[in-house]
Amino acid sequence: MPRILDVGCGPTKFPGSIGLDMNPNTAADVLCNLDEGGVPFRDNAFDQVRAEHVIEHVADIIGTMEEFHRVTRAGGTIFLATPHYTDYSSFRDPTHRWHLNTYSFLYFYPGGMHGRDMWYTKVRVKEVRNYVSLLRLWRALGFEFLVNHSKMFRQFWEHYLSFVIRGKLMEFTFEVIK
């Protein structure tokens, strides 16, 4: 049985996981506030940490990623889902502090931004999956396929097209490097 932590589990906890939330009206097994003291588990406690629609709410993304990294074993995975900053849902929730794109976690990759490691954190992860979904119209026209199957088109889209052909949901899977 893989050990899975579902952070911000809400009313629908990931099957077989331990649920963590700050809201008692949820399926949470553990109540805590990520912004006050991090994730209340020991180092390397989990094979996977899942945080769906969480990272855009936290006060400190770097600190939170460090906590997810700490409680995940080496080789384990972190799964994040969060709105792309061009989706209106990024601006619909008045508790969204951060508006992110598909490159927002380069920060944590070895040699991440501009070919060098970033120095505000020592946490390193490897990107396993980085998928962005688009609105129905753009998907039907094949843009979602292109954006996810060509690294060059992904960059062209982020730089030139994304305010017109807007993104929706981003899903990241990272492998934890320790």
């Binding site: 809201n23 949820t26 989706d87 209106y88 601006f91 008045p94 508790t95 969204h96 502090r97 305010f163």
Partner: protein
């Protein structure tokens, strides 16, 4: 907050409003909600000091307007659906937003060109048209300010 304005009462209104429950017929929050630490708390306080059935008026920049990014004091970038939480909330979220409002009116104001072309009129015709604009068009045909007329439900 600042003695330089025309305030009758000086206080840090982002934390609490120094008035008794149900004191006012109308609470006006014009270009402030984008600056507060905690929007839920602010709307909770406005709800508390307003009378049942009273009115809360909010005006704030749309997230596609340059004004949303001009002031470094702006913490939040909001859309015309940002307060659906308070009027249409799923049960499990009343933990975050105990204050209940009814959205009496939501109005999006646009730049002159779009207004002249009638787009502002069309976008404000219905919720469905406004949603289509928010999802597909608003980074090209950009919004300026959003105005809410909320009714306090107690």
């Amino acid at each position: 907050m600042s003695p330089a304005g025309q305030a009758d009462v000086l206080c840090d209104w982002t934390k609490t409003l120094p008035f008794a429950d149900s004191s006012f017929d109308q609470v006006r929050m014009i270009h402030i909600i984008e600056e507060v630490d905690d929007i839920f708390r602010m709307l909770g306080e406005a709800h508390r000091v307003a009378k049942p059935g009273g009115q809360v008026i909010i005006v704030t920049p749309h997230y596609t307007d340059h004004a949303s990014y001009v002031s470094p004091a702006h913490r939040w970038h909001l859309s015309s659906f940002s307060f659906w939480f308070f009027s249409d909330q799923p049960k499990e979220y009343d933990y975050y937003a105990p204050a209940q409002y009814r959205e009496r009116k939501v109005h999006v104001e646009m730049l002159r060109v779009w207004r002249a072309l009638g787009i502002q009129f069309v976008v404000n015709r219905s919720r469905a048209l406004r949603k289509f604009w928010e999802q597909y068009l608003s980074f090209v045909i950009r919004g300026k300010t959003v105005e809410w007329d909320l009714q306090v439900i107690k």
